[in-house]
């Protein structure tokens, strides 16, 4: 199969600020992670791919087509934006169903597929609640549902795990993996390398609007293992969570920064993300969200960029 995305010398200016700076890369079939710190140009690239922005220079193709004002192409991809805004007054069912109607599905089919998509992302019980009552993680899952409900060829996911709770993260990653196993292609951006690791070995690194490396994840990961990975946990029970995670032997530091969260540093982030949900459930803890400052990734980029 030809490349899902082919970008050549792509540049985009926001006034005097350079969003993309001669970005050149290709994304093949399967799951590809676009990894870079905040402000690297990940969202800019995705917005060009979905036709929301137009490049100032260079060339880009999504499924071998120019995405700008390309109405038929929009049937072939699903997009999950980074921000958390949705039509808050709608229920999740109505939200997904309405967007499926805009994909051309008749009302009855849209209803069925909306229900299936919400079940896939684990929102069956909450599907008839207004979206404004959803937690951040639930909104992420609702956004994912609307992105994949119409069976697109490609999913373009901008920071899909941002702010999601541990259960939500597992659900989202499981959904992405299942989608890819069934033949779909996924472009997924993140500023946390270890999020990508759960689902793929193919990554493209972006920094200051440029593609700086692409290929196998493990070689790149080895570069940052010497740096502890920071994870911020949002919880109304910081002391209890701190006590629970202190028992993990790869945790090297815990900072109780605020009354509603704590910062954990770990030498084995994959083990941390894998073990945390079980600890949360076993101790009956209330964890509202996980976020990763990109300190470790900055170290990698400093190494790669020089």
């Amino acid at each position: 199969m030809s490349d899902v995305v082919a970008a050549r010398d792509l540049s985009k200016w926001y006034g005097e600020v350079l969003g993309l700076n001669g970005f050149t890369a290709t994304f093949g079939p399967g799951i590809t992670g676009l990894v870079g710190p905040n402000g690297a140009g990940k969202s800019t690239l995705f917005k060009i791919l979905i036709g929301q922005l137009r490049s100032d220079k260079g060339d880009v193709r999504l499924l071998a087509e120019d995405p700008w004002n390309n109405v038929p192409l929009k049937r072939r991809f699903g997009y999950c934006p980074e921000h958390n805004q949705v039509y808050g007054w709608m229920t999740a069912t109505r939200f997904v169903e309405t967007l499926l109607r805009l994909d051309g599905l008749p009302a009855a089919d849209a209803r069925t597929k909306a229900s299936d998509a919400l079940e896939l992302v684990g929102l069956t019980k909450a599907k008839d609640r207004p979206l404004r009552t959803y937690s951040r993680g639930m909104r992420q899952r609702a956004k994912l549902a609307q992105a994949l409900a119409h069976d697109p060829e490609v999913l373009i996911l901008d920071e899909p795990l941002s702010g999601a709770d541990p259960i939500g993260r597992v659900q989202i990653l499981r959904t992405i993996s299942k989608y890819a196993r069934e033949g779909g292609h996924v472009l997924m951006s993140t500023h946390v390398l270890y999020e990508i690791e759960r689902v793929t070995e193919n990554i493209v690194l972006i920094h200051n609007g440029k593609g700086i490396a692409s290929g196998n994840l493990h070689a790149i990961r080895a570069l940052i293992d010497k740096h502890p990975h920071a994870v911020r946990i949002d919880t109304p029970q910081p002391r209890e969570v701190a006590q629970a995670v202190a028992g993990m032997d790869h945790v090297v530091g815990i900072e109780m920064s605020t009354a509603d969260g704590l910062l954990v540093r770990t030498r084995q982030p994959d083990a941390f993300y894998r073990e945390l949900p079980e600890i949360v459930v076993d101790h009956g803890l209330d964890v509202r969200g996980l976020e990763s400052p990109d300190d470790s990734l900055e170290a990698v980029f400093r190494y790669l960029v020089g």
Binding site: Y14, K47, K74, W89
Partner: protein, 258 residues
Amino acid sequence: MAFAQTLGKSWVVTLLTVRYLLSTRRVIAMALFAVVPVLLAGSLALARVRTFDILLFQVLMVPLFLQVVLIFVTLVNATALIREEIDDNTLPYLLTRPIGKPAIVVSKYVGYLGTVLILLIPSVVLAYVITEAYSGVPIGSDADVLGGFLAVTVLGSAAYGALFLFISVLLRKPLAVGLMIGFLWESVVGSIPGNVPKLSIIYYLRSILKGTIEIGPLTGFPTDVSAGLAAAILVLLSVAFLVAAMFVFQQNEFRQKA
């Protein structure tokens, strides 16, 4: 088949727009504004004002309804159609669907028009009925007055809506410019001599009233434009602004707020 599909999708956007405009807290303020003519007519009737009749109704409805209520309701709703979706970061959900940008603009405009007319027409009709009932005349006695004000409500909503929609896709802060046009230009331009008043929407709305109402103070409006011609001009203006909005929207990029 493709055309039927586009129509179907456009209808979905139209319904989405109507639900959106009627579901936010803004609709409460709009509804309160819209019933001002009813409240005024009711107050005059309750206070048993001797001079309250269909002539006074005409005199009050121009400054109150045409120049305040109509402009305010159309301005707030039309500028929200696209600009609020941009500011609320919900526009990508529509832009990433297989429906053309011009179709989105037209569909939202139709939804706007339906919503605004739902708010305004009952108010005009009810204010008229209260006036006639208080005067003790049959409801249909001054059907020309009711017809005239219904016509300007529909055509004014269409024209102002298209204008404000165009401004909102062109500018980041459309409300300020819309307020200046709606409450400054439209009020002041009538007193400028020559043909300058013809550069306002209110001129053609008042020409329609002059042409449709047989007896009353509004028949003295200085215009050489017939009601039919005024209506045609307003329709043309609506179409022109709508097409301009479609063109600008098609070419625009949309950067989301962080």
